[in-house]
Point group: C2
Chain length 233, copies 2
Amino acid sequence: MSRTDDVVDGIKRMILEGELRPGERLPVEKELAETLGVSRGSLREGVRALSILGVLNTRQGDGTYVTALDVSRLLAPMGFVVDLQDQGQTRHVHAIRRLLECEAARLAATGITDEALDEAEALLDEAGRLLDKAPEEHERVIEIDIAFHRVIAAHTGNPVLIGMIEALAGRTVRERLWRSLREEGVDRRTHQEHIAIWRALRARDPEAARIRMANHLMEVEESLADLPPVRPR
Amino acid sequence: MSRTDDVVDGIKRMILEGELRPGERLPVEKELAETLGVSRGSLREGVRALSILGVLNTRQGDGTYVTALDVSRLLAPMGFVVDLQDQGQTRHVHAIRRLLECEAARLAATGITDEALDEAEALLDEAGRLLDKAPEEHERVIEIDIAFHRVIAAHTGNPVLIGMIEALAGRTVRERLWRSLREEGVDRRTHQEHIAIWRALRARDPEAARIRMANHLMEVEESLADLPPVRPR
DNA sequence: CGCGAACGAAAGATCAGACCAATCTTGCAC
DNA sequence: GTGCAAGATTGGTCTGATCTTTCGTTCGCG
């Protein structure tokens, strides 16, 4: 058990026992180092690790604070995992993503608000216009795609689900995908699938939403399946 | 962008570009620090963070190595997230766990081997004996419970699913649960539910396995629902 | 020749002290 | 009352030293 682990466990314990609450400020480095019985260097290693894990948040000249401990932030490092997986694992990641997003669609069908439906419709309208008039605006199309899925996740009422979907469907996976596919005409098909999902949501039909989402992601996976490996060297 | 972030991104990049392969050893601290243009202290902070994330693995007197980058290891810090969630989020975590474990049961029904079925049967037999003859052996019963679920997850063929279930259904959640429930007679009911799952698996019936697992976890959640909050202070 | 113990090199672990940079607080001038 | 500037506070970084663990080698014994 290294000193740094002492620091991590010590701070974690302080949070779990309510000694430190979300948003609260930690003692200054020198003082906390003495409390935990380590040098400032070791303390900093532990604090840094917790920062990267999304538990702490340091601001030079100000202090170190406990984050809100919201799931999205704490799950963000998971995106890291996805990045590091080799090509062989991609389909497994996508299988989980499909599972989570289908559940999200199902839940959103009953929980989504009229405002959110309007928002999603606006996104799809913009995507439709771009496909017709400015097919080169691929970056924006990708943004819209991500935003559309995010609106759905946001209305599931389950923050853990939101966080996991964000982590799995994050920028990297999507980018890698789209970059490989931009030549194809799949973006138009994707758009149609999105519309089908949206209609199911508007009808407040959970089963339809789930099925449409499942179909959409399965198409995406299929497009991915026969791509050449991208792992360099 | 702090120096430590440079270190994290630098090492991550080296891995992604194949400059560093899983299992490979990193340059010594002094040398790597020079390469990345930071001091040894900053380098160590970054390396430590990546260690805690399961990407690197340091051994005093030997060196620092890239891990196998297996999903289980990389997903382990997610258990940390679960620990830090306040009581209000528990049901959301369990909802996801149910989703994942149901899928695991469904997949395992077609993929499980006869040997694994025997192994699971042995576990359930032992649990049954303990319930009859040594009800005080609660620790062992919990171990068996975890092991049973692990056997199922292990035969889904999806390592990402395995990792996520491990992280979500980890020791802590289960412990908190069982500690609160040991007075009740629920452990016997849980045992019966496990048997029902096992039978569905033996019959290689995916739908039955999924349903039995769903029922099992729903019972668990229900038992949890009306517990008093444990968050101290 | 084979094997085991002791030694030494190498690498990470930890510490202490100094200085830098960003931020916040305080108090003075207008 | 407002605005700005100086000082105090706090995290960020660097340097250099010492400690601990591990691994490889070498030496001596059988």
